[in-house]
């Protein structure tokens, strides 16, 4: 058994789990944060994407013990003070979700994508970088639109601030 301490959504948490427990299961079962989903067994679908120390990671591809001491952000930690994060808001405005199952992973991947590319993000790059996130409902059309809109908005804001 492994005793693990990490920071999740700004709060320090501890838990005990099997050595073989994946981070996604630690998040879902030990912490009860069920927004992070499991859609496959082979690290293809991306429904489990979280941020570890600011970078998007598939939480099914890492043991919980490997994330000990890290700062993890899950979908539950993205909105602040009841206000949707701009990427969440863009997904809503552009109807970038239907059943909602892939959505947490999509949003977390998109936030990291925009952080890396800023407002220069273009459609081809978004589509290439979504290779690791599968959606069966939307045909990706509105997800791409939402990410581009959020990139333009938040990237623009950042440039104005600079």
């Amino acid at each position: 058994m492994a005793k693990i301490t990490m920071t999740v959504n700004g709060r320090q948490v501890s838990g005990t789990c099997d050595d073989r427990t994946l981070l996604v299961h630690f998040i879902r079962e030990n912490l009860g944060l069920t927004g992070t989903h499991v859609g496959c067994d082979t690290t293809q679908c991306g429904a489990c994407v979280v941020h570890i120390d600011g970078q998007s990671v598939k939480s099914c591809s890492i043991l919980a013990a490997q994330a000990a001491g890290s700062s993890v952000t899950t979908i539950e930690g993205l909105a602040s003070n009841g206000e949707l994060h701009p990427v969440q808001a863009a997904f809503k405005t552009h109807h970038g979700l239907q059943c909602g199952f892939c959505t947490p992973g999509m949003v977390m991947a998109a936030v990291d994508m925009i952080r890396r590319h800023g407002s220069s993000l273009d459609e081809a790059t978004v589509r290439t970088e979504l290779e690791g996130n599968i959606c069966r409902c939307t045909g990706y059309h509105n997800i791409v639109q939402a990410i581009l809109a959020a990139a333009a908005e938040t990237g623009g804001v950042r440039q104005a601030a600079e």
Partner: protein, 781 residues
């Protein structure tokens, strides 16, 4: 239309919870004392079970119990059934083999459930499942649908000699053969419709809870139709009587048909909960989903289409074999019959049609409805044939279709359907304009200069949705009626709850159903809650599939709103001492027309509950229910055009443009309708370019993970151009037709027509992988 009423482009109410991780799916459910299940599944495609030894598994850490099919049988749990009776053309009923929820004697496909392990954790349950020792005697295997009908093939069910389930026909064989014999031209084609895996992103899951105190069961499940699940589990599987069984389908992560059916796992987990005394949760992993979720399509057909000297179609003759897998799933029999052959007239006036359909058992996963269900198979067959005929006749594909379009309504086809409204010319024109059809030749020439082959292809589809008039489907063999129910409860403060038997698993009902209420009463959609997916909250319902929620589910809401409105107007008239016929509802108030007298909606609601001053004899309260049984199917139709560029060196196909021009009737929320079309297109394009389920000769599934089954990714797809040209549906009060399946129905033939146009070789099967396209292009050059 108000800002949130019918036709408004409203962002979805339900999005916030999904975007913030607060969605509640079945696997998210946790109840006190809950334990976890793993299923022991057959590794063989066909075998008899000689013995099952659970001793070592039971001794594993954390294991509570291991239960098998003999115990399930002893406890009286019934066989899984197919709920739609089809008779062969000789009058004999379909030959349904027994499907045990846990196989006790014979396994018939890889993944067939044999035993269940209940343990303290998922990992311990899986460890123990590995330790169950089953002695199998393997039997010969057949996976191919054509081979399964051949001489000397393995016999899969004793009830179905030669693996033939039924041999069914529709239409007039004599008239069709005569017309073909007299034709000026006959186009003949062999059509293969590839087998698909639905792949809702949320794997199936269930949580069975037995309450010994009340002898009551609760079943959380990933279902598109929880009431139907309760009905079937009570009436046929003997799990529990309906009043002792609550079925809850909470947030469900996509369905696409695969979550219509009642699978072994729901039944077994409920039963296991009673046997073990603990709540039992099971969640499929993706490989289990590939192995056991009902697959889609898998048809092989031959077609003959006859033309007269004016290029008018005179007859269509179709012979189809459909693979139903190892067992007959819930609606498997109606998919290749009444949902398929009844659409073979397409958008065309065809005087004579005959279709013969044989369904077969094979040692593969059950096959049932998958997005479109029969209609994609009909559309692919017809639109590949039309394109081929146009090439053979030297006509443009648009011209051949125009010559044959149905142009007056209602139109009775030779295969049951009575089309009520449509304008196929309008969709065709809109699609051709959007894609810039006239500019294609120049684009092709430009591509040629770069060594690329451009092609363009179209597909004019029609589907029958709004399933379905109960008496009509009853006469065709359905075991249930296909009406829908609704209840509108106005609270004392004027907020509204709508209970619907429809179920949303991505379609956005919480928004669109609320828009219908907002339109009626002028209340904001935030004051309207849509309640669905719980048999304790909603009395009855038939669920969501076949693009029926708008046409049937919303129509039931509409009818209930009529009753609420009538009562509210009576109360308002009484309060204002006016005549009830003078009361109108505007901007959230009930007014006396032509005056400034009004009472707010909330005050009428409150008055109905205080009951201090109601019209004489009126019951208190403001709550009404309705059942809506449609009088006809609805007939969404449209034209899809695809333009591709094929690299002849690699066989890689790039979709340059994809245009969808649909006629969905009236539209409640264009934002959501467009999203439905996008998703359907992606699934259809997936079928045409990427996806295919493959079994090897021994019945092992070769495509059992996302590393082997090619799901469409974002960079496989273009941005879509979607447009609508709508004719209202005359048969339901909202004039809606349904939009959930169109994209998946119309797109595959457009894509294959485009690729075959590009490479100049009509011989190409789905999925059109680069290897196949490369070979087909080389074969012609």
């Amino acid at each position: 239309m108000g800002v949130e009423g019918i036709g408004a482009r409203v962002a979805r109410k339900e999005d916030k919870r999904f975007l913030t991780g607060k969605g509640r799916y079945t696997d998210d459910m946790v109840v006190p004392g809950m334990k976890y299940a793993a299923f022991v599944r057959s590794p063989h495609a066909h075998a008899t079970i000689r013995s099952i030894d659970v001793a070592s598994a039971k001794a594993m850490p954390g294991v509570i119990d291991v239960l098998d099919g003999k115990q399930l049988l002893a406890d009286g749990i019934g066989n899984l059934i197919c709920g739609w009776m089809i008779h062969s053309k000789d009058g004999s009923p379909m030959r349904m083999g027994a499907w045990r929820p846990l196989a006790d004697k014979t396994v018939r496909y890889v993944g067939d459930a044999v035993a269940i392990v209940v343990a303290d954790s998922v990992a311990e349950a899986r460890d123990a499942a590995e330790a169950v020792v089953i002695d199998y005697e393997t039997l010969p295997v057949v996976t191919d649908l054509v081979e399964a009908l051949g001489e000397g093939q393995p016999q899969i069910h004793p009830e179905a000699p030669g693996n033939l389930i039924f041999d069914w026909e529709i239409g007039d064989a004599g008239a069709t053969d005569q017309a073909i014999a007299a034709a000026a031209h006959v186009t003949e084609l062999k059509i293969v419709n590839n087998r698909l895996s639905p792949n809702a992103m949320e794997p199936r899951a269930t949580l069975g809870i037995y309450d010994a105190g009340d002898d009551h069961f609760t079943c959380y499940t990933t279902s598109q139709n929880p009431h139907l699940a309760r009905l079937v589990m009570s009436a046929f599987y003997n799990v529990a009587p309906e009043n002792k069984l609550r079925v809850i389908a909470p947030d469900v992560g996509g369905g696409f048909g695969s979550k219509i059916f009642i699978y072994p796992e729901e039944i077994v987990c409920l039963w296991a909960s009673k046997r073990t005394g603990v709540p039992v949760k099971w969640t499929a992993d993706r490989t289990e989903a590939f192995l056991t979720d009902a697959h889609g399509r898998d048809h092989v057909s031959t077609v003959k289409m006859a033309f007269d000297s004016s290029n008018r179609i005179t007859a269509l003759k179709v012979d189809t074999i459909a693979n139903l897998g190892a067992y007959m799933s819930l609606f498997s029999s109606c998919v290749p019959t009444y949902l398929y052959a009844t659409l073979l007239s397409g958008q065309y006036a065809i005087p004579a049609i005959h279709a013969n359909v044989r369904t077969v058992y094979t040692n593969t996963a059950p096959v049932d409805a998958y997005r479109g269900a029969g209609r994609p198979e009909a559309t692919y067959l017809l639109e590949r044939t039309m394109e081929t005929a146009a090439r053979e006749l030297g006509l443009s594909p648009a011209e051949l279709r125009r010559i044959n379009f149905i142009r007056s309504f209602p139109h009775q086809t030779p295969v049951i359907m009575n089309y009520d409204a449509g304008d196929y010319e309008a969709s065709l024109t809109a699609a051709m304009k959007t894609v810039d059809w006239d500019g294609f030749a120049a684009r092709k020439a430009e591509a040629e200069g770069r060594g690329m082959k451009r092609g363009i292809g179209m597909s004019c589809y029609i589907e029958a949705c709004g399933l379905a008039p109960s008496a009509a489907v009853g006469s065709l063999g359905a075991g249930v009626g296909l009406w829908e129910s609704a209840e509108v409860r106005v609270n004392a403060v004027g907020t509204i709850e709508v209970m619907t038997g429809s179920h949303s698993h991505g379609q956005g009902h919480e928004t669109t159903f609320a828009q219908v209420v907002a339109e009626r009463f002028g209340v904001p959609i935030d004051s309207v809650n849509i309640v669905h997916g719980d048999t304790d909250k909603v009395q009855m319902g038939m669920g969501t599939y076949g693009s029926r929620s708008g046409a049937v589910g919303m129509s039931a809401v509409f009818k209930a709103l009529d009753k609420v409105e009538a009562k509210a107007k009576k109360i308002a008239a009484h309060l204002m001492e006016a005549d009830e016929s003078d009361i109108v509802i505007e901007n959230g108030a009930l007014k006396v027309a032509g005056t400034d007298r009004e009472v707010p909606w909330s005050q009428v609601a409150l008055a109905s509950y205080t009951a201090h001053n109601l019209p004489p004899g009126m019951e208190p309260g403001l709550k009404e229910g309705a059942f809506y049984d449609p009088s006809n199917f609805t007939f969404p139709a449209g034209c899809y055009i695809c333009e591709v560029e094929v690299d002849p060196e690699t066989g890689q196909t790039k979709i340059v443009q994809f245009v969808a021009a649909d006629d969905f009737g009236n539209i409640i929320n264009p934002l959501i309708v467009e999203g439905q079309v996008h998703g359907g297109l992606a699934q259809g394009i997936g079928q045409a370019l990427l996806e295919g389920v493959h079994y090897d000769k021994s019945g092992q599934l070769l495509t059992a993970s996302y590393m082997d089954y090619a799901m469409p990714r974002a960079d496989d797809l273009p941005s879509f151009k979607v447009t609508t040209s709508n004719t209202p549906c005359p048969s339901n009060p909202l004039g809606v037709k349904g939009c959930g399946e169109a994209g998946a129905i119309g797109s595959p033939p457009a894509l294959i027509n485009a690729i075959t146009d590009a490479i100049g070789n009509n011989e190409l099967t789905m999925p059109a992988t680069p290897q196949k396209v490369w070979a087909a292009a080389r074969a012609i050059s």
